[in-house]
């Protein structure tokens, strides 16, 4: 089951706090290798809290864990910045030095893949 969404990436306090402990830690991965979405959208995709979900954009795709966030409207998903989100953010800056990292077209689908570790995600 695949659905299209508007993807926002951004900072969270948990991402910031755990980043200061270390990027190679489990805690950092738990706080950063995630995508937050509305529970109705989760249901539509057949996802539960913590299940693996593949996020794909024209830049690439990555497997992360789903987290419920009813502050998000339907059709909008959020990923904290970090090495996992960086897989789906493109590098075309249109000559400005800065690429789009918010408001991206993404498709999400249920997956059995595991979430990669920091080392694995950086390896390519």
């Amino acid at each position: 089951m695949e659905m299209d969404f508007c993807l926002i990436t951004g900072r969270t306090s948990k991402q910031g706090e755990s980043r200061e402990i270390g990027k190679a830690t489990e805690k950092y991965r738990d706080n950063t290798a995630i995508v937050r979405l509305n529970e109705d959208d989760m249901e539509g995709l057949g996802l539960e809290e913590g299940s693996s979900v593949q996020v794909s954009t024209e830049a690439g795709s990555v497997t992360v864990k789903a987290r419920k966030d009813n502050g998000l409207g339907r059709g909008v998903v959020f990923m904290p910045i970090g090495p996992w989100a960086s897989k789906v953010v493109g590098g075309d800056t249109c000559g400005t030095g800065c690429s789009h990292a918010k408001g991206l077209s993404a498709s999400l689908s249920n997956t059995d893949d595991n979430v990669k570790s920091l080392k694995e995600i950086l390896a390519g």
Partner: protein, 424 residues
């Protein structure tokens, strides 16, 4: 136990300077007044540290002496035709000055993290100009605050209680004297803190700013950007009729489609509002000393980021000499990363190039870029183990503290050693 007071935090652009840090036997035991981010940074400053300089040999990073690591870094730079120096934001001003000196010496390209953050804001300001105010001005006078495309409750946690939303000011008794509006594509914890939330369609902020400006100038406007014409009119009337208004804006504007054009929309609106009342617009700067990086680059080169020295003088080139472009187009043949982590935060199409070219990393912690580094030079942590100056998001300079000792050299010392040895 020593209690250090009035310590300046070094996590985000708020640079809160009222922290209290308890130090015992040369170790930090507790931090008071900081938010969880600042507290985490200070208390965890020893975790995931790189303790020794490293050089990659046969695919693995191995401990070496500083002399060897510095020499290896120097060799990488000397062999390079188009070196890139990137980062700067999480260290103090003297290290940033040294980074510029190095870039000039080697005819390299130097960029800081603003280029993937508020660089677009700077581009917009270069076109339109901006009316800014220091945070105390806002605390003392602002009765209307608009948080647009930012989420300070998550990213700048003490901003609302210390500078903007709740504190008492000279002409403002507190929260009840202020109206807080939040404009975003989604509801966040900042929205919950606000009196009014306006939902704008993703990528449509420029339309909304334009509609608001048109209404301000007396035109009839319809719905725009997913916001009804009534709401637009109401918002503009609020802004016109306040005593002192401010828009705080964040990456919701800089990283969305339109990039710097979004901010131009905001700047033009605020400029026109100044025909009616007092209005300011302040960017929510992220890394603790990214404002310092722009300040240092501006005074030493004339330009705030994205500078190349190949011709022997500084040339400004957003899109040309900004790090993301240089990496995506694979133009650099070596990279020196100072006080930042492009390995984690750059799009993979940019950071992957770090794998393919010799990379020198100068940062206290093991981070994502460590995985790509060929040389790691660990410095004393700025603001904790070595002092210096940092610039707050509103441009106010603050002195950083040395809280505990470290055997490690500072960033500026490491850079200076490289400067002394590289070929000109």
């Amino acid at each position: 136990m020593i209690l250090k007071e009035n310590v300046t935090c070094m996590f985000c652009g708020c640079l809160c300077d009222d922290l209290k840090v308890e130090v015992e036997n040369g170790e930090i035991m507790d931090v008071k007044n900081a938010c969880v981010n600042g507290r985490s940074r200070i208390l965890n400053h020893n975790r995931e540290r790189v303790e020794n300089p490293k050089v990659r040999k046969d695919g693995e990073l191995v401990d070496v002496s500083f002399d060897e690591a510095i020499q290896k870094a120097v060799n990488i730079i000397d062999d390079s035709k188009f070196p890139l120096i990137y980062g700067l934001s999480s260290t103090e001003v003297d290290a940033q000055r040294k980074a510029v000196e190095l870039a000039e010496r080697i005819g390299g390209t130097i960029d800081n993290t603003a280029s993937f953050c508020h660089g677009p804001s700077i581009l917009a300001i270069q076109s339109s100009g901006a009316q800014e105010a220091t945070l105390g001005e806002i605390r003392n006078r602002a009765d209307l605050l608009v948080f647009w495309g930012c989420n300070p409750v998550e990213s700048h946690m003490r901003h609302p209680p210390r500078y903007s939303v709740t504190p008492e000011g000279m002409y403002i008794s507190g929260r009840s004297d202020r109206e807080i509006v939040n404009v975003d594509v989604r509801e966040t914890t900042t929205s919950k803190m606000s009196d009014k939330f306006v939902k704008v369609d993703p990528g449509k902020d420029y339309e909304l700013f334009s509609a608001m400006r048109a209404y301000l100038k007396g035109f009839d406007v319809g719905d725009a950007a997913g916001v009804s014409s009534n709401e637009i009119e109401e918002l503009v009337e609020k802004m016109k009729n306040c005593n002192f208004g401010v828009i705080f804006f964040g990456l919701g504007l800089t990283l969305s489609s339109g990039i710097y054009v979004n901010i131009e929309g905001a700047l033009d609106l605020v400029r026109d509002l100044n025909d009616h009342t007092k209005f300011a617009i302040n960017p929510m700067r992220g890394h603790f000393n990214v404002t310092g990086a722009n300040a240092v680059m501006s005074w030493t080169t004339g330009y705030p980021f994205g500078v190349n020295f190949s011709r022997g003088y500084p040339v400004y080139g957003p899109g040309e000499y900004t790090a993301m472009d240089v990496l995506v187009r694979k133009e650099c043949d070596s990279v020196v990363v100072l006080a930042s982590d492009p390995g984690a935060h750059f799009p993979a199409s940019a950071s992957s190039h770090l794998k393919d070219v010799p990379t020198v990393l100068i940062d206290p912690k093991k981070n994502a870029t460590t995985h790509f580094a060929d040389v790691v030079l660990p410095p004393a942590a700025a603001g904790i183990e070595t002092g210096g100056t940092a610039y707050r998001m509103d441009g106010v300079p603050l002195e950083l503290d040395k809280l505990v000792e470290s055997d490690l050299p500072s960033d500026r010392e490491i850079l200076d050693r490289i400067i002394q040895k590289v070929e000109v």
